[in-house]
Amino acid sequence: MRMACLASELSSSTALVHPLPHRWRSTFPRIGGTGRWPSPKILRCASINVRSYFQLIPPPYPLSSLEPYMSRETMENHWGRHHRDHLNSLNTHIAGSELNEMPLEEIILTSYNKGDFLPVFIHAAQTWNHDFFWQSMKPGGGGRPSGILLKLMERDFGSFELFLKEFKTAALTQFGSGWVWLTYKSNRLDVGNAINPCPSAEDNKLVVTKTPNAINPLVWDYSPLLAIDVWEHAYYLDYEQNQRSEYISLFMDKLVSWDFVSSRLEMALAREEERAREDASNAEEDDLVLADSDAREMFLDSDEDDAGTQ
């Protein structure tokens, strides 16, 4: 997501010089994401040293265009101060460190450190989360999803209405600060280089997850499709009286961008296919290795040897 606009502009030769983790190379419907100047590794071939940093990109709509469901004042504070502060802190933390050369998603995964966060995790994750959140919304949003997304919702939740109910319940019961996500969960076990011995199409499904504070589903290797920010700063100015429940309802009815969710689902499905292909080719390679190994020759194949052992 970070490298969307730049990866498409670079030629394939430079892509080989600095192979990005393939799952994050997919392009985004819009230009940007948290934009970043070219990574130093790419330009090192041309003997140019560039210190890279993350830039704050505004939401893909004017700040006042989500009125009356999300006021301009909320957007100015939320994007202009909270999001900006996290971005600035992120840039400060990564300057001069090895994290400086990584894409944002890798910084998040590295600093998550299996739950024992490094200090930069909060800022990296919140930067990514907010960027994702702005794109989960659009003026004149809401309505119903369609196509594959709707089909999968009906398969995994029963119906769109049941999904809405589950999503709203999760958002209401996330105690304190956090986020609620619609994610595409894959069936990959996190056991290093092992392959899931019992893969099943049923493990690839949509789930609603809720996360506290800054955590996001990337750390579990899920593919996020939709996010709602349930930190109080997201709704406190606009929904004083009925607070979170009204905010969530209006978010789902009037703000959510199903186009964005569908495009993220396409990415997630493509990623899943690629992984399935990888797993298949790894399995073939393993078979080949076994076929060539000396271990095969342990079987006795002559009667003389048999007689010798008796």
Binding site: R81, I122, G176, P212, W231, E232, L237, E240
Partner: protein, 288 residues
């Protein structure tokens, strides 16, 4: 000390409000339509106490007449008017923070306790029980938030003097070096908190000293066996309307203009009944 339990209200007021009575065991209960009076004479009628209570049938046990009633937690009011903390904490913030959020916590707690085996304890006991050694029961969040907010309102007062005095000041200087060191530590702890939580000055039971403690979500130091002295709510709903994201100004206004050292002194004096802090330092002019 600070609790939403029914008994405390009556003790503070010194008489039984009309529409309340005692049963044969001496337990006090509210009947629909009670008037709630705070120690400062502010008459409020919190909506939650006017909700209908499930009333059991009267049973007579021989010569004693006793009634079965369902008791529940009421919403205590802050000991000052809602606009008394202006300009550091606006009336609108208090109307929402106390009137909506705190009220919701209490009402949801009562709802959860209706048919629960946890029914019948004081709020402090309930908080400790439902914490369940780190594996909280569903009632914990509501119980702890109800208790925390009661404590928080009483940790503040209008026109607060900005310095503690006497034995509390002496203890702060002993444990932090100086009062301004303590303020710096408090600020540092508050700014270092990510997400929702609370900042406390506690008297630690084992270490027998004051310390600044930071907790997440609804956790409070009661569960560690320590004695809270003052608290500051760092959930965003506590300051967002007045300060937006400027938490530093919120904390410094709290420390300089809102914190009630009267309450803090009362609390540490009470805590000293349980924690031996050694001989008090007698000011030299008073020695014989």
């Amino acid at each position: 000390m600070s609790s939403a339990a029914l008994g405390l209200v009556v003790r503070d007021v010194g008489f039984l409000p009309k529409n309340a009575s005692r049963n044969s065991e001496g337990r006090i209960f509210w009947i629909k339509g009670s008037v709630f009076t705070s120690p400062h004479g502010l008459n409020m009628r919190p909506k939650s106490s006017t909700k209908a209570v499930r009333v059991g049938k009267r049973r007579s046990l021989g010569s004693e007449k006793s009634a079965s009633f369902l008791c529940y937690y009421g919403l205590t009011t802050p000991p000052y008017k809602l606009d008394a903390l202006e300009p550091f904490m606006s009336k609108r913030t208090l109307e929402l923070h106390w009137g909506v959020y705190h009220r919701d916590c209490v009402e949801r707690l009562n709802e959860q306790l209706k048919n629960s085996s946890l029914y019948g304890s004081t709020l402090e006991e309930l908080v400790k029980t439902t914490y369940n050694n780190g594996n909280p029961l569903p009632e914990f969040n509501n119980a702890a938030e109800a208790w925390n907010h009661d404590f928080f309102w009483e940790s503040m007062q209008p026109d607060s003097g900005s310095m503690p005095w006497g034995s509390l000041l002496h203890q702060i200087e002993k444990d932090f070096g100086s009062f301004s060191n303590f303020k710096d530590k408090f600020m540092e702890s508050a700014m270092g908190l990510f997400g929702s939580g609370w900042i406390w000055l506690v008297l630690k039971r084992e270490e027998k000293m004051l310390a600044v403690v930071r907790t997440s979500h609804a956790v409070c130091p009661l569960i560690f066996g320590d004695f809270p002295i003052i608290s500051l709510d760092m959930w965003e709903h506590a300051y967002y309307l007045d300060y937006k994201e400027d938490r530093r100004r919120y904390v410094s206004n709290y420390m300089n203009h809102l914190v009630s050292w009267h309450s803090a002194t009362l609390r540490i004096v009470r805590a000293e009944a349980f924690v031996n802090l050694g001989e008090p330092k007698v000011p030299s002019g008073m020695r014989a």
